[in-house]
Amino acid sequence: MGIKRSGWIIAGIALGLLIWISGPAGAEEVPAPAVPPAEGQGSGFAGVKSAEYPEGGTAAPTGKIIEKNPDVGEPSIEVEILGRKPISKDKTEDSTQVSGQKLRDSPRPSTLEALSQEAADVYVSGRGAMHGVSSGASGGIHIRGFGGSPNSQVLMVEDGVPDYQGIFGHPIPDAYVPFLIDEVLVIKGGDSVLYGTNAMGGAILIRNRWREREGYEFLDDSAFGSYSTLRESLSMLGRSGPWDTAAAFTALSTQGHRKGMDGDETIGEAAVQYRRPDYLLAIRDKLVHLDGADPGPATHPTPDHRFDVWRNNASINITKDTESVHLTAIPYINFGVHRLYDGFYSRDYVGGGKAEADWKIRRSVEALIGLATEQVEGKVKNRISDEKSPVKGSNNTSLYHQLSLWPVGPITLVLGAREFWSSKYGFAFLYKAGGRWEITDGLFLRARVARNFRQPTIRELYLPFPTANPALKPEFSRNWDFGGGWESGRLEISCMGYVSEADNLIKYFGVWPSAEVVNIDHITIPGVEASVGLKRLGPVSLFITGDWQDIGRYTRQNPDGKLDFTLEAGKDFSEHFLGGSLSGEWVHGLYMADYSRQPINDVFTMDLAFRYRYDLRERGLTLEPYLFLRNFLDRKYAYIKDYPMPGFNILIGLKMEI
């Protein structure tokens, strides 16, 4: 009898808890931004993070969406929704959206590692404060089994501009600092239809900030920590009439936790935007300088393997809006100079442009059509021996189109194709198709398939580091994913299954001087990714994301499983705010070589972050001291064999916002 009664009591408590959790978050909930039907999706925490951590008026309107009452006979009501267009152009893709504020608050040492904390199917290796370049570098991004080293199967796109080096074909992982970032969208399963080559396993879209109200704001973030680490970031956003300005300067200097991990990173970025009601012109330039070393394995250190890298990204963004058409044109150039300890010297550039028209044909039909062209060139020589490596650039042009349909209210369909022509490889046809069904308010199902593409890099074709193969063919992938989720005021849950298939994947085997780089046959990687979030349970929020995949035989730096969690708590006391977070990462099934050879111990690390914010409203000043206790359990772990990560270390900083 007693058991029966206690069972009822437990069931009642559980039911009450479930109703409370699934109910609306109440008055403290920040309303989600208004979006057209079926916009703003993405798995898990898409959009929610932005709402949870509002940017405080930093997002500037870049367009407008005009909705007309479709009912004939009724007076036409024109509703003008001012705000930025959603960063996602495909409403059916599986994605994780992370706000810039979340990245700025993260205790993880780099932006890419902070992104990895938010999605378990994104794995980013680390080696300490900086990722570095060339051998021994970390920062390889894996999404659902693709990517890594060479890190050219995941495409970074910053303000619509693909960001990768001409010779090595991958981005510089240290070049992304969060101080101007508005939001980041991680597209899982790739999208070469919209973004072209390299978006094989995924694409990471970065959108930078603009101020949306008249005036100026300054943010200064100074931090000092273990290993003589000094970080200084200064950013400015301004709006004066039709002119918007944005600038940021970041400098990081560290001695590193071991010899050879010392380095300096300097990033300067400036942007100006001229804004009229129906058109917009923005110019942006980012200059990156990295000076560091490959420390080598701890067993055989190489602290004198220095590198010196300069890169510059410049782009112009022109947009024009009519009532139903949004036109965009973006010319860009990305060039860089790399110098390595052994005399290696390279100059490379990626230059191109794209023009895109986004046309809202009817309320339920939206078409996107674009034309993109790109030229990749590079020069390589050894400054010591004056030996030049013969390399050949390439160019490509493609036409792409996408159709978004809302045939029935809760259903979204997206179809897309890209006709890609390469001067070296000829024609390639890429496609995608996806659907999303909003079953009830918050409950959804979705599925998508995408055929993606990557052409070999100049390094893989021509440079003997450690080997080259001019006969390499491009890689193709076909990524399927399917699943569903439920989003409510306090609870968010999602589960996605995926199958990543690839043909002609480019892989390195062996070591110098007997190494080879070849195309391998068909591979299939099935996996499942799930996330659960409990938001605003009093002052506390909890987010857990996990991923498991059957990686097959090519196991090098491609983990079987990953789990990330973040427990946050924060409370406002009038002008004071006190908050903190406990975050952790567990990585399972890491190997340093293919065929499950050279296993690495599971990674498990936890970080603590504390912050206090004091809002001096009368002076328009916000002070925010913070403290990061990284790896506070002093775990000995490594993502790369014999590149041990730092033990317990501290970073103390102060943010000042005017």
Partner: protein
């Protein structure tokens, strides 16, 4: 006032102190008088010096944890014997009382006059922790060839 200073000093030590507490390690060549060691490395430390028999490295702060001591070994006695056998050193021959006997004719392409430094490591694994000071002696009964040395190319 003093209390406040002490608190600030404590905070400063905590911040910068993680690497100050790293273990200190020195390595001594105790093989034999004909063997030279160079590029000795252990747990993130590397000594770019050559150690004759009995010589020690300077102490360096290495990462806490465990590792073998890795180094490159040159056996001068073995090298001399090889060179004598190949007849590359005038006035030296293989044994006493053999003056006047000419060295065997060897294809010049097979003769290597460059000294070769082979990669070696200790058989035993050494453990170091925060605050330790350890002196490791390299002895002939505790060394083996090291095939874990990474190749020269990467980029």
């Amino acid at each position: 006032m003093l209390r406040r200073k002490l608190i600030w000093m404590f905070i400063l030590i905590v911040i910068v102190g993680c690497d100050l507490a790293y273990p200190e390690v020195a390595v001594v060549n105790k093989t034999n008088k004909y063997i030279l060691l160079k590029n000795v490395s252990f747990k993130g430390c590397i000594w770019n010096t050559v150690l004759a028999y009995g010589e020690a490295t300077s102490p360096q702060q290495c990462l806490p944890g465990e590792d073998k001591v890795h180094f490159q070994k040159f056996d001068a006695e073995e090298y001399c014997q090889e060179q004598v056998k190949d007849g590359t050193i005038n006035g030296l021959c293989q044994c006493e009382g053999s003056e006047g006997i000419t060295a065997p004719v060897i294809d010049a392409g097979l003769i290597n006059v460059n000294p070769t430094w082979f990669n070696y490591q200790t058989i035993s694994i050494k453990h170091v922790g925060y605050g330790d000071f350890k002196v490791y002696e390299i002895t002939l009964d505790d060394i083996e060839q090291d095939f874990s040395t990474p190749g020269p190319y990467g980029h």
